[in-house]
């Protein structure tokens, strides 16, 4: 699977706050098959929130830094996400330093909260160690709906 769990960035404030979206589809291959039908795995909801957080870090640092997950104090799921649902993801930076940031956040789906998490601590690492900065810039432009950077 392509491990890109953010499809749009709707708003963001540097080092403070981001809202983003992920649409889901029956054509994705990662559904849990349960007796009551397919549902999105807990881990992928949590990952969507973490990826929103890492996009906030990248946008806030002009793509120089990104987040690597260190700890999760608590994350609780509270309802199913089914194929066709749209996830609305909100992440807030509650503290940060040069080396790390702590994020809280929620994932909602059709008006229901499906995941709440707090105390997501991430190490801030050099983004170019993980991906080509030009590719990151192109992806950022797509997510933001802006023209691609040179």
């Amino acid at each position: 699977m392509r491990f890109h769990l953010i499809d749009r960035i709707d708003s963001w404030q540097p080092h403070r706050h981001i809202t983003a979206r992920k649409v889901t589809s029956v054509h994705e291959g990662h559904w849990q098959q349960t007796p009551d039908g397919p549902r999105l795995a807990f881990g992928l909801m949590l990952e969507a929130l973490c990826q929103a957080g890492t996009w906030l870090i990248m946008l806030s640092t002009e793509h120089r830094k990104r987040a690597a997950l260190l700890t999760v104090r608590e994350a609780i799921a509270s309802g199913p996400v089914r194929p066709g649902d749209t996830l609305r993801i909100e992440a807030v930076v509650v503290s940060r330093s040069e080396e790390a940031a702590v994020i809280d956040g929620t994932v909602t789906c059709e008006g229901r909260t499906v995941l709440e998490a707090n105390g997501i601590m991430c190490a801030l690492i050099d983004a170019e160690e993980l991906d080509d900065p030009a590719d990151t810039a192109r992806m950022a432009s797509r997510l933001l709906g802006t023209k691609a950077a040179a």
Binding site: M1, R2, F3, H4, E28, G29, H30, W31, Q32, Q33, T34, P35, D36, R39, A41, F42, G43, L44, L46, E47, C50, L69, L70, T71, V72, R73, E74, A75, I76, A77, S78, G79, P80, E128, E129, L130, D131, D132, D135
Partner: protein
């Protein structure tokens, strides 16, 4: 838990269980070695991390790292087996619904063999709590103080 498509197992024969002393050995297609269940409400399994996993194309292009949340879901898959061994709810209905005190200490990448251990620490109705750890070459790479597993439609 059914793993994401990139890590989904081949459709191997249905799992079987053997008994060796107090330890039950269960062959299960979601893990790469026979799962050891018990004694008590514990389980141990091995997940190999081959370079061929599709997820490494995007996570990350310059440094392949297994996403920590996929390791969490592997812990949950093992915990679900323990639940299925001890409870009468429908098989495959147990899923991860909450975590507390999760820590990732080292990256997991291609070539690693991850030994996963879970232990049930509490149980009430349709919910069960587990502690979990993962190690590579005798080094702890991740721990979870509490994984909460749930069955049923409620959550």
């Amino acid at each position: 838990m059914n793993t994401p498509a990139d890590t989904a197992p081949l459709p191997l024969p249905a799992s079987t269980t053997e008994t060796a002393g107090q330890v039950r050995i269960r062959y299960h297609p979601r893990f790469d070695r026979p799962v050891r269940l018990g004694p008590g409400e514990e389980a141990t399994a091995v997940r190999n991390i081959p370079n061929t996993l599709d997820v490494f194309a995007t996570h990350f292009p310059r440094k392949p790292v297994l996403p920590g949340v996929l390791l969490l879901e592997s812990m949950a898959a093992l915990a679900a087996l323990v639940c299925e061994e001890h409870d009468t709810f429908a098989p495959a209905s147990w899923r991860l619904s909450g975590v507390r005190g999760v820590g990732f200490r080292h990256f997991i990448g291609p070539g690693d063999q991850v030994e996963i251990r879970v232990r049930r620490t509490g149980h009430r109705g349709r919910s069960a709590d587990f502690s979990a750890s993962a190690r590579v070459d005798d080094r702890i790479v991740a721990t979870a103080r509490t994984l909460t597993m749930t069955t049923g439609e409620a959550t």
